[in-house]
């Protein structure tokens, strides 16, 4: 219902503006805090106008948390998660939507169930697997007796081990192996008219050819949307990186290292806490996701509302 209602218009705009203010106020405070000196920030009431120390604070944060290498790590992980996710999601959805194979529904429901088990819920078993990714295989071998047979025949105890702790693989894989993207792609694939699939078959395209020539070009906007979501998701990960990385110097991510900027009694040695530097670090770490959203936003919105048809 679209009506001319000036009063309502003003009211809705007011609500919008208030909402926007509420959403932006914390961001503004972070920004302002990052521009103040350590004395200013520790002197209540906090100023609402920016100061002059932005560059100094940014530099301090950058150096103290070694954000250069950590951001590179984060970028690497986020890119791997986002692209790995797109690859897995488009392929699994392809199998589920376009092929009739025995156990198809079982697979479908198994994938579906993982939607209800986010990483945080299954973090302990996931950690156990990451500590030795071959542990499940080892368990199977032991149960069926092959491990025992191997030991009898060769005299060597069979112990499969593949440790993912302190590695990019360990940081990335558990974040990739979830079902969200599969469903996005499944929904999109199901909107592709059956006749197009059949026309491609008549034209001689085999399944992988069809995937390459039809599905991938057609799902570009979906990919952009999923890429954006997954990039931000991976970039913002905190709990999982902390668990799998003990070697922070080499594998620490930016969000993890932010913690290092938060002043504690230990870090300040009883001195004044430098929240201004912590906030400056926040600004730096927030930047890449913002850039990704800004760049992808055009496709992202279109992909989610499916208007590209």
């Amino acid at each position: 219902m679209i009506e001319r209602t000036p009063v309502l218009n003003i009211a809705t705009h007011a609500i919008l503006v208030v909402g926007l203010l509420i959403a932006f106020l914390p961001m503004w405070l972070v920004f302002v805090a990052a521009t103040l000196t350590i004395e200013q920030i520790n002197n209540p009431p906090i100023s609402l106008l920016p100061g002059s120390e932005l560059i100094a604070n940014l530099t301090a944060a950058w150096n103290r948390a070694q954000l250069g290498s950590k951001m590179l790590n984060s970028l690497f992980v986020a890119l791997l998660v986002a692209s790995g996710k797109i690859a897995i999601a488009s392929l699994t959805a392809f199998a589920i939507v376009f092929f009739r194979f025995p156990g198809r529904m079982v697979v479908f429901w198994m994938i579906f169930v993982t939607l209800m088990l986010p990483l945080e819920v299954r973090i302990v078993p996931t950690y156990a697997v990451a500590a030795n990714a071959l542990a499940p295989a080892q368990a199977v071998l032991e149960v069926v007796g092959i491990a025992w047979l191997w030991q009898v025949l060769t005299g060597v105890k069979l112990a499969l081990e593949w440790n993912l702790l302190n590695s990019y693989t360990g940081l990335v894989l558990p974040l990739v192996a979830t079902a969200t993207g599969t469903f996005l792609f499944r929904q999109f694939y199901m909107t592709i008219p059956a006749e197009i699939v059949e026309a491609a078959r008549m034209d001689g395209a085999r399944p992988l050819r069809f995937l390459r020539d039809m599905l991938i070009p057609l799902s570009k906007t979906n990919m952009a949307a999923l890429f954006t979501i997954m990039f931000i998701y991976a970039w913002n990960q905190y709990l999982w990186p902390i668990l799998v990385t003990t070697d922070r110097a080499n594998y620490g991510t930016a969000v993890m290292e932010l913690k290092r900027l938060i002043p504690t009694s230990a870090s300040t040695g009883g001195g004044t806490p430098d929240w201004n530097v912590a906030m400056a670090g926040c600004l730096i770490v927030m930047l890449p996701p913002l850039v990704v959203v800004a760049l992808m936003q055009r496709y992202f919105v279109r992909g989610l509302i499916g208007a590209d048809k």
């Binding site: 006749e195 026309a199 008549m202």
Partner: protein, 383 residues
Amino acid sequence: MAEIAIRQVRKSYGRTEVVHGVDLDIGNGEFVVILGPSGCGKSTLLRMIAGLEDITAGEIAIDGARVNEREPRERGCAMVFQNYALYPHMNVADNIGYALKVAGVAKAERARRVAVVAATVGLDGFLDRRPGQLSGGQRQRVAMARAMIREPKVFLFDEPLSNLDAKLRVQMRIEIRRLHRRLATTSVFVTHDQVEAMTLADRMVVMNAGHIEQIGAPAEIYHRPATRFVASFIGMPPMNLLPARATAPGVVALASGARLMLPPGWVMTGGDVEVGIRPEDVLVDAESGDGNRLPFTVEFIEELGAGRLAHGTLEGIDFIVQLPAGASMTAGETHVLTLGSNALHLFDAGTSRRCRFDAASPMAGVMQVPVVGLEHSVQASSA
């Protein structure tokens, strides 16, 4: 070019069988149209030929080789779909040339052949456009070009014209016919539009509920419908059908009691029949003529421009008569219709099949006595 042999082909979805043992031979270079009401299984049959649908039982052979187990790409068929099924993200040239690209034809050669085919269907200026930027008729041409470029052994069309407006449909129909005359590729064309079927077909296949009712040249199907279904399905307006009961040799009685005399030679096996006559075969207020004369009460007149249709009742049964353009007839009037003996069709009510007409037949069975004395028409009356 190829010939297609379809042997006892059946199709079931789960436990429901939708095609019940179809036999059909399609000759080299022939244009066969499959016609039937919605849901009768014509698309299913076509898709089984194409390889898009598994064949539940029976066999389809193209050029003598069984193709049941072959993938669509290995059958040498090209298909034109009802909704065109163009690839939305490719331009016209890529749409047309996709089959060649998949087949690994070099780019230059591909471009050359695309240009040739596009010119054939009048798409020269549109090669860079996306399907979304084309009109319905142009999309239809792209779909045709895409099928043509592979120089397939068989063309399969699934209602390719039904999304076009009436005028364009006629135009495309003519173009398809012209194209077929030039390429002489074996073609199977599915439609539920009988005008399209009659005008395009070398041979028509009329299907109903998963069965083939009749196979024959368009004129033969029109003039000698093999079943009651074909009689009522083909023809616009449809054939008038009068349920009747054979009472004496050569005589049938309508429900009202009115009797119709039949020309000698109809071989009836049962008592219940249906007498058919096309609206255009009925004579109105004829002075003389060979046939049965019955009163007809006009209910309303339909103006067609080139002629008029009178709807009314004949002996209490709904009946349609086609009149020439100038004919004067108004609602409420009663006219005498002459149902010419030679224009009558007779169907067995039990089997729905056309009764055999054999002027020279010696009679076999109770009702099969030829009638003499029809030289002057018999005035049948219902009291």
